[in-house]
Structure formats: C-alpha cells, structure tokens
Amino acid sequence: MCMLEHREVIWILVKKDFKIRYRNSALGFLWSLLNPLSMMVILTLVFSLLLRVGIQNFPIFLLAALLPWRFFQIGTMQSTGSIAGNPSLVKKIYLPRYLLVLTSNLASFVSFLIEFVAFLPIMIALGMTVTIHILLLPAIMIIEFLVVLGISLALSALNIFYRDFYQIWEIALQLGFFLSPVFYDPSIIPERYQFYYSLNPMTKIIESTRKVLFHNVLPTVFDLAVPLLAAIILLTIGYGIFRRLEPRFAEVT
C-alpha cells in the first residue's frame, strides 16, 4: 500500500500541520483544552442547573459526546482548506495530494487523542467509573476517523473550485450539533424519526462512546455497523470526487 511508503512524509506533514495551527499563539495547544472545558461549564450550567434536564452526572454525559463531536467538527473544517490553503505544495512540487487531506485529519486526530487523555482524569474525578469496555474506544475512534476522512476528501476538493463549501459546511455543522446527541439523550427523538436520525453517522458514534464511558455497557453490533458502513460509503464517494477533480488542482489554486 502506497500509504506505508509515504509514512515518513506523512509524519513530518502532521508535525508541520500541528506547528502551524498553534504558531503565534501564546497558549498554543492549551486552547484545545480550554475550549471544551468552557463548553462543558456553559452547557452544564444551562442544561443541568437552569433547564434541569435531570441527567445524572451531566458533565461526564456531555464530555463523552463533546470530544468526539469536536474532532468531527475541527477535523472536517480544517481539512476543507487543506488543499486551497497550501498553494505552494500543490503548484510547485509533486506529492500525492490526498496526503495533504490525510495529514490534516491526522493532526486533528492527534489533538483529539491528547484532549481525551487530558480529560480522562477530570472525568474520573467527577465520578466516572472506568470499565473494561473502554478497550472498545480505539475502534470507535478509528471508525470516526474514516468518516471524517471521507467527508474531508470531498470537501477539500470541492472547496478548490467553490470556496462556498467552507461556509456551507460551517452551517451544516451548526445544524449537526443539534441533530447529534451531544447534549441530550437520543431517546428524546420520537420513534418514527429514529431511523432517519440514526442515518447521521455521528449519532451512533456518539452513542457508542457514551455507552462505553458513561452508561458502562457495550455498544451493540448495530451501533458500530451503521457508522462503519457510512464510513465506507463516504470514503468511496469522497475519494471519487477527489480523484475526478485532482488533475485541475494546480490550475485553480
């Protein structure tokens, strides 16, 4: 597989991506932790204290969903500009272009992992119990990564020709935040909409993560099969679009 042959470049490009993201900022990576922390405080205040939704241990309930959601959001947003934002690597030297998208996603993924490791002690301090189920978490994360990669391939290529896709996707993500079970339990969705609701790949990814970290139960096969199938479909479509548009990248960027 050609990805292995490029592993050295991939690693260096991931590091580069990481450096550029936090360059010229005094707190650097700390922002990656302060952002979800403030979200946690705000949403807990609103839902737990003001609206009294009555979910026990709301901060853990929320964090288990917020961290994977943030990866989905940041991963797809950052990579949308990964081709258009790197004109010199597109116009002046040859390297397989999909590597730019892949490495942007990987940098977001590493960020996600660090955030997760940093928040784990906080979640435990707030009363989370760690069970053997947590071993399933890497699998869920990898499925999410593939979903993100599929979407990113399509968006980064389309964004070269129409910069509108960045704005469109930003709105879609705002909508997606409410259409995914980030701050509520999916059981509040009426039965007849449940099927459509679970077509959103993030629904089952968040549910599975929450089952592992919050409810302490194993996700069902169905819970994992749905996003995995979505990942395969999205990767096929995303790579198809990417391949079709790639030959003209250097002419348009």
Binding site: I12, I20, K91, I93, Y162, A250
Partner: protein
C-alpha cells in the same frame, strides 16, 4: 537511455471572461440559459504537439518569449500538472524550482522547511539530519535558521531554495529563471555547483532568458513560441535562431 521523454503533449487552459467563483454565480448563470447573459470562457492551448527527449547525462535549455509555454512545460515535467493529451515519462528524482520556490511554507522556519521538503523528496530522516547543516551553510543562512521564512528577503529565499534542491541530491533539476535574484557572489557559487552536478552525469532543465547561461550548460535547447516547438537541437543553432527571430534577419 532517456531521462525525460515528452511525446506529443498538448495542454489546454480555460480563461474565464467573467469569473464564476461562487455556487450562486453558477446557479445564476445556469438559470440564465433561459435567456440571460452567460459567463463564457476561452480555451487556450498553452502547449501544442510538443515532442522531445533528453538522454541521460545531458541538459536541456528551454527558451522563448513570455507566454510561450516554458513554465507550463516545466510544470508538466514536474508532474504538478497533467497534460490533456500525450505522454510524459521522467526517470529519476526531480527537484523542481518553479518561480523561486520549492513549496516552502512562509510560517515555518528555515530549518523546518528543509525538513518538510526533504521528506517530500523522499530522504530518510538520518540522511536529512546530515544534509540540513550543509544546506544552511551553502545558503549562508546560519543566522536565520530558526527564523520564519516570511521574514527572509526574496534573495535569501532563492538561496535557500537552490541549496535545498541541489543538496537533496536529485537526478533531475528543473530551474525556472531562478538565479536572477541572487547576488553575483552567490551566482558564482551556484554556477560551480551546476558544473559539479552536470559532471556527475545528472540532468538540468533550464528555463531562462539568460542565453549565455543556456549556452554554457545545455547541450541541446528547445525554442517555444505560442506553445509550439519552433526549433529543437544543438543549443548554439537554436539560440541563434531565436535571436534572428527577435531582431529580424
């Protein structure tokens, strides 16, 4: 054996008359099929029926007026663009120096840029570590090694580009009018590097208006005009042909 083979290559560009940059514009202009003004574009052949080859150990110059397709041809050889028709075969590692840069990132430091470029060129990490210091030394940028690239002058960036390209040990070196920004001393250094490079049996593809330079380094040359090959052969003859065309007989 040939290191570069270009066979019947055609390259087309679209020049939009009225740029449609947003989805809404596209929808609007598609709707206006039913009786509005449509945005149009002109097709323009940047290269037409270009064929030539470069045998191993030889160098080639590409000359011609502005807009004749020289840079486009270099981009096709660098595999940055794809031809619409025809075939290009390149044998070996290519270091392209197009428009003074090598795909550097302005936010990264000199050292970081060297690492990124080296990795793209396929250098292993330990090879790269050894190479980095000699690159910085050749470019005379020791004082600036940890400065972001954007703080360097264009001459310094060119020096860095040249040093990186030559020290990463490519088989083929593509240069597009690069030396013009360097000062005289650095140009001299580059020229002697060029000789060394050539003498080790490697290939330089040189796009330049400095005809003396082309004469000095390239055995054969290609004269382009409006995307077509006007003359291809021994450099002296091709250069004279070009001069005759410009000045009249």
């Amino acid at each position: 054996m040939n290191v570069i083979e270009v066979e019947d290559v055609w390259k087309k560009f679209k020049i939009p008359h009225e740029r449609r940059a947003t989805v809404l514009d596209t929808i609007a202009s598609t709707l206006s099929l039913f009786g509005g003004r449509r945005s149009t574009f002109e097709e323009f052949w940047a290269l037409r029926n270009v064929t030539f080859e470069v045998p191993k150990g030889r160098s080639i110059g590409i000359i011609g007026e502005n807009g004749s397709g020289k840079t486009t041809l270099l981009r096709l050889i660098a595999n940055v663009m794809k031809p619409d028709q025809g075939r290009i075969h390149v044998d070996g590692r290519v270091a392209p120096m197009l428009e003074l840069g090598l795909g550097f990132n302005p936010e990264l430091t000199v050292r970081e840029n060297i690492v990124v470029f080296g990795a793209i060129m396929g250098l292993k990490r330990n090879e790269l570590r050894k190479q980095t210091d000699s690159i910085i030394k050749f470019a005379e940028l020791k004082r600036f090694e940890d400065a972001p690239l954007k703080t360097l002058s264009s001459g310094m960036q060119m020096r860095l580009g040249f040093s990186v390209a030559i020290e990463t040990n490519p088989d083929i070196f593509l240069i597009d009018e690069a030396l013009a920004v360097g000062d005289m001393e650095f140009q001299q250094k580059c020229l002697s590097k060029f000789k060394e490079f050539k003498n080790s049996g490697k290939t330089i593809v040189l796009v330049s208006h400095a005809l003396d330079l082309v004469k000095e380094f390239c055995e054969s040359s290609l004269l382009l005009s409006r995307g077509e090959v006007i003359n291809f052969g021994e450099t002296g003859t091709v250069v004279n042909d070009y001069i005759r065309r410009v000045h009249g007989p």
